[in-house]
Every structure is written in C-alpha cells, then in structure tokens.
Amino acid sequence: MTALALSPDASKTTGHAPGAGWLFRLHRPALYVWIAVVAVLAAGLVWLWGPLTDSSAAAWREYNEFCIKRGSCHYDPDAIVRYKDVYGYTTGALTALPFVVAAWAGAALFGRELEHGTAQLAWTQGLSPARWLATKLIVPTILVTAGTGLLVTLHRLMWSAGDGRIDTAKSWYDNLTLHTNGPTTVAFALTGLAGGALGGVLLRRTMPALTFALTGVAATRFLADQLMPHLWPAVTRVTSLDDGYRSAGLGVDSGLVTATGAHIADPGCGPTSVSSTCKTVYDGLDATGFYTTYHPESHYWPLQLTTTALVVAVATALAVAAFVLLERATATPTRGGTEASV
C-alpha cells in the first residue's frame, strides 16, 4: 500500500507530475495563520523562558529567603502570577494545537474539498487521487512537524530553566506539561492530520470529517495517557507506615505491602504518624508499609519516545487507511495496463 504514494500514474503521460504549488495557492491563508500561531506561541515561550522565569525565580528566592525566615521582605507577587498565567496560556495553547490541526485537516483540507467536488476537480486535472492525497499529507506533515517541534523544544527549554527555581512550576509529570515538553504533542498533531484525511475520504463531508478528526485526536490522547506508564518498566518503592507515600513521578500503582511481601489495596486511612487509629487497621491487614510503583524523572525520555512511536504508528495507520479507501473508490491504473492497451 505504501507504494501507492510512490507511483503517481500521471507522470507516465505528462513527463512530470504536478508539484505542490497548487496546494500553497489553495491554502495560503491557512499557511499564514499557522506561521502566525507558531510565531506568537514561540515569542510567548521565549519571553517565559527568559525574563518571566528570571523574575519569578527571583521573587521566589526573595520570598523563601526573607519572608519565611526573617519575616520582613519585599518580594514581587506579580512576577510569580505573571509566570504562572503565561505558562498556563502557552501550555494550554500548545496542548490545543493538535486539535486545531485536526479540525483544519478534517474540515478545510479534506472534508470540504470532497463535499464540494473540488477534490474531484483536481483528480480530473493532471493529479491522480493518490498523488493528491500524498501531497496533501506530506506538505502539511512537514509544516506541522516543524512548527510543533519548534514549540515543544522551546517549551522544554523554558520548563527546564524554571525547574527547581520556581516553587509553583509544574512538575514534569503534570499531564499537560508531560506532553508539551516532548514529541508526543507533535505526534498528536500528525494524528489529527491523518485523522482529517481518513475522515474526509470516508465521510466526504465537512462537519463529519472535522468531528471524526477531533474525536480521533482526543481518543488517541486518552489512550496514550492510559498506555504511557506501561510502555517502560516502572520502579517500585516501599516506605514505612509512618511515612506514607513518598514519591515524585508518574504513578502507575500504589497500595500496602504485607509481611509476606504481597501488594494489597490501600483502605485509605493514611500514614500512622497522622492518625494513630490507622495502626490497628494496618495490623488487621498484616501490612508493613506502603508501596508505590511509578516512573521517576529519569524515565521521561523513554516514556516520551515510546509513546511518540506508538502515536505515530496510529497516525500512519490512519493515513494508510485513507489511501486504501481512496484507491478503492476511484479508478486506479490496471496492472500491466500499458501492455493491454498496445
């Protein structure tokens, strides 16, 4: 099936096949909007990375040094709030980006064209349906990967600059930050693009294709969140009944450890240092401590990369399905057709 994109039949008769000029002509406004969105978000992230992180970190240092220890201080609460706000907006926008790409691909790039017959118009010009689909997938894939890739890189740099310096900074495993700090966001955006293609080819209507693509991204993100902790071996840490849970990372499982080493469900009483009545509860269960299975920060890249690979595989499957559907619906060159026609 992958050979489809590599065998544009039009080239046999025209000498050379159409490039991507037509695509830029048709979707120039979308290209400008994309460049503007990436530029604005990148500017926001750079601002956050430099001045806002520094002023917020300074305010926190001031606060921790003087307000807590000496009781009199002049810290800048606005700097802390501004960092938090801009961080929230940019991270939220970057999280939303794959959904925007999905909506655009489903509606404008594929659904509308198939609904209004302009796709068919292109197919009766010098462009085969397979090449039409390939061009419409490859060019936006490059642009979406470049734009989203730049933004997650900046987000990662920005987040690292604030890590450990800003007390209210998001942890690496905060759900939004977890994805905006790495390539999974790029993969989600590509799923949106491929989902838009499949939705368009399958449903041939604007709104249904848009809904299909959005649902696809939402489902992929949900499933990725469910699967991600299991894509890499997690670490299990046991703490005493006094201490309670002590771990910082992406949690997989937690509960009580019994004297035999078995893992059982936590009745939810809490550490014995907080509530002494819990001791009798734990004694009754023969519990000796708490266990947590989790991913420490060192697992960040293995988790990110395996999840990215999985999501990219989903995107590829959607794109291949779109090619197969389109090939079935339209005329394709018969094998050995040139011999038969002689």
Binding site: T13, P18, Q120, T124, Q125, A331, P333, G337, S341
Partner: protein, 313 residues
C-alpha cells in the same frame, strides 16, 4: 479502423453494497473525433457513466477504457466538467487558472483558458464565489480545455447558461473539436440542446444503454410507419411493453420500438427488418421522437452496435 475514444464492456456501477445499480451491463464503443451526446432522463446513469470514464469512480463490474487505456492512466489527457461545476470559491478567476497550470505541468494552454474566460467579460480578479452559474461554467470549461484534452467529458454543461452564452460556448467547443480532433462527450436531458452539434448518440435509460451509434445511422435504421389495422382486432397497446414483435401481425418481422392503435389507424416506430409494404405510409423520425420512443418503452430492444457492426463498415 478508427481509433476508439471510449469503450465500455459490461460496465456497471453500484453505490453501496446493497444499493441499486446506477449503471448496469453497459456496452458501447465511441470512435475518436466524434461529438457524442449522452442523453437520458434525470437519474438514468449519465453522470455515473461520465464519472467512471473520468476515473473518479471505480466500476463495480465490467470495464471502461478511454483513449486506449484505463481511465486512471488516461487522466492527463481527459478533461472533465462535473454537473455542479465545482471550483475553489476562495480563489479569483486568475488564480483558478494558475492552479490549472500548476496541476498540468507541460500540458497547460494558458492562452486558450484565458480566451474562454475573457470572452465572457469576466474580471480575472473576481472571486469564484461571486460568479453567476453561467460564469462558473465558463471558468470550469476553461480549466478543462486548458489541459488540452484529447477527450472532453461534459456533464450537463449548458444547464446554467443563457441561450447566447450557450451558443457561443458550444461554438468554442465545436471549433476545438474540429481543429484538434478532440472527442467531446456531453450529457443532457434536453435532446434539442444537442441535436445540432452532436454526431453520435448514447441513450441511457434506467441505468442501461438503449441506443448507441452515429445519429444518422440510428435515424436511418428507424422508420415511422402508419397503416390501417386491416382485419386485426385492435388490441390495447398504447405505449405498453407488450408492443413487442408479434403483438400486431402486420409488424411481425420488424423490431417494434413503439406502436399505437387509434381506431383503425396503426402508427409505430420500427426498425425495419426488410422491405416495408408499399401501402404503408412511412416517414423519418426526428431524433427527439426516436429518443422519446425508447424512453417511453423500456422493454424495446436496445440498438447498440458494438464491435461487429463497426467491423462490417
């Protein structure tokens, strides 16, 4: 032997696995260089046939060849204008033509495309979404002709045009057909619209080909006869499917397309199988009469000379 512009063998298309057949058992051959009318009522399968030939649909059964190869391989050499003239609404007329140039590298005839557009007093900067139906048709035709097609497929091309523009564009098409030998296939449900300009006919009705061939040959093969019914007891046959050979003994050896008995008067449209009796009054049917007779009588035997007849010529 002449080249074939388009040929179908047992071609059929069904929409959906359990849907009805839009076109079935369609066999015909269209020689190159002809202007062919595809005629039939709405929903007869005309659009489906043209979309199959343009490679926009894959056949459910049988096969269609265009310009000696399959529709997908012939894509660059075939022009097609769909019934609703889809164009990119956000582009201007000039930009639309530039997209045509982008999509047909090495083939695009900018001069022809611009001439067709400028003949309609169209401002090239005007957006497609602001055009009238007739202006859209003009731009769609410019796109189709700009790629220098050897075969031009037009689905109800003239429906949105006023008589003057229709005449002018038809003239452009005919000139092109004459100058470059372009084969033109155009569908319509108005027979009169095509009678003057077409030399070949494909009559589609109920998803099947009913008549196919040169219009002159088709007309010559049919005769309108009228005679007294004689001793035969008049049977009610008005347009009924049992007007088949044998229904009326007088018509026995001939293929009856349509027959009607009014009092003692018998009128019929027949394909004579031999000499007709001298006392019968005969006249040549018009194309419209011929088409209507076949459409009114779905059971009449189709006349679709395919390979054998062509070889005999």
């Amino acid at each position: 032997m002449t080249d074939t512009a388009m040929a179908a063998t047992a071609l059929g298309k069904r929409f959906g696995r359990r849907g009805g057949w839009a076109l079935r058992d369609c066999t015909f051959r269209l020689p190159a260089g002809r202007v062919c009318a595809v005629v039939g009522p709405n929903g007869a399968g005309k659009s489906t046939l043209l979309a199959l030939a343009a490679g926009l649909l894959a056949p459910s059964e049988g096969r269609v060849t265009v310009l000696g190869t399959d529709p997908a391989s012939a894509r660059a050499r075939v022009g097609y204008v769909a019934q609703d003239k889809p164009l990119y609404p956000q582009l201007s007329v000039a930009e639309t033509l530039r997209v045509g140039a982008d999509l047909n590298p090495g083939r695009w005839d900018a001069e022809t495309a611009e001439r067709i557009v400028s003949a309609g007093d169209l401002d090239p900067r005007k957006k497609i979404r602001a055009l009238s139906g007739g202006q859209r048709t003009r731009v769609a035709l410019a796109l189709a002709l700009g790629k220098r097609p050897e075969l031009l497929l037009l689905d109800e091309p003239m429906a949105d045009l006023d008589p003057l523009a229709r005449h002018e564009l038809m003239g452009t098409l005919m000139a092109r057909a004459a100058q470059y030998g372009t084969t033109i296939v155009m569908s319509s449900h108005v027979v009169a619209e095509l009678e003057d300009s077409c030399d070949h006919l494909l009559l589609v009705g109920g998803g099947r080909v009913r008549l196919a061939g040169e219009i002159d040959d088709l007309l010559a093969a049919h005769t309108r006869v009228s005679t007294a019914t004689g001793s035969t007891v008049p049977t009610p046959m008005d347009g009924s499917p049992d007007g088949a050979p044998g229904g009326l003994p007088e018509l026995a050896p001939h293929t009856v397309v349509e027959s009607r008995v009014t009092g003692r008067q018998l009128t019929a449209l027949v394909r004579p199988a031999g000499p007709l009796p001298d006392d019968w009054r005969t006249s040549a049917p018009s194309l419209e009469e011929l088409v209507l007779a076949y459409l009114r009588n779905p059971q009449a035997a189709p006349l679709t000379p395919a390979e054998p007849e062509e070889a005999a010529v």
